[in-house]
Symmetry: C2
Subunit: 132 residues, 2 copies
Amino acid sequence: MSEAIPEKYVDLLEKPAFGSLGTLMKDGSPQVTPVWLDYDGHYIRFNSALGRVKDKNVRRDPRVSITVLDPANPYRYLEIRGRVVEITQNGADDHINKLSQKYLGKPVYPFRQPGEVRVTYKIEPEKVSSMG
Amino acid sequence: MSEAIPEKYVDLLEKPAFGSLGTLMKDGSPQVTPVWLDYDGHYIRFNSALGRVKDKNVRRDPRVSITVLDPANPYRYLEIRGRVVEITQNGADDHINKLSQKYLGKPVYPFRQPGEVRVTYKIEPEKVSSMG
């Protein structure tokens, strides 16, 4: 069951605010890491590289939670629980460059490692909570 | 197996930086919420109220992950995975006031709700990762 992001919180997904992404380790325990993200009007998208812990985690179990705090007021935040419904390398290089522009103001992602394969993940929001 | 927090990252636990706490819902899916935290030299401590989602979650399954980003440089961060090894109301009112002083500069926690019972949770760090 998809749940929409309330209009009054969409700005949190548009400004360069980090997401804290919760995934599940192999033993079912939680892992939380900071991510860049964007929003296409339906899916929350993040970007990682093939073989990273969170890449392995969401391929094994797609259930995630992502929290975004307003940098201007950390008592205003959004938590989105849902699942990763698409994992793709198509367009993932363009996507990381777009996120680099959003978060660093740089049109080309500067942290790329040799051999790194970028991946885009789309989260379907199922339960949205907000505060502030 | 306990793992120590590297000395060079302890400042992240001392400054008023929010933690992103990952817990497990009843169905095993992750939940992430922002928390105030402190560090007693061994345990990471946070504070919540009896009956809240994260209170129920950690009583059911003590496995957690907590990520703290440096407000001065979000590419410098600490992730601590571990488990809640103590849950207590003893001293929890003093603890929330101490956290209020740390995060708001106010010696008495101002957001208290009528009937709210404060609880302190101690996390034993088992796996510590850092970046930056």
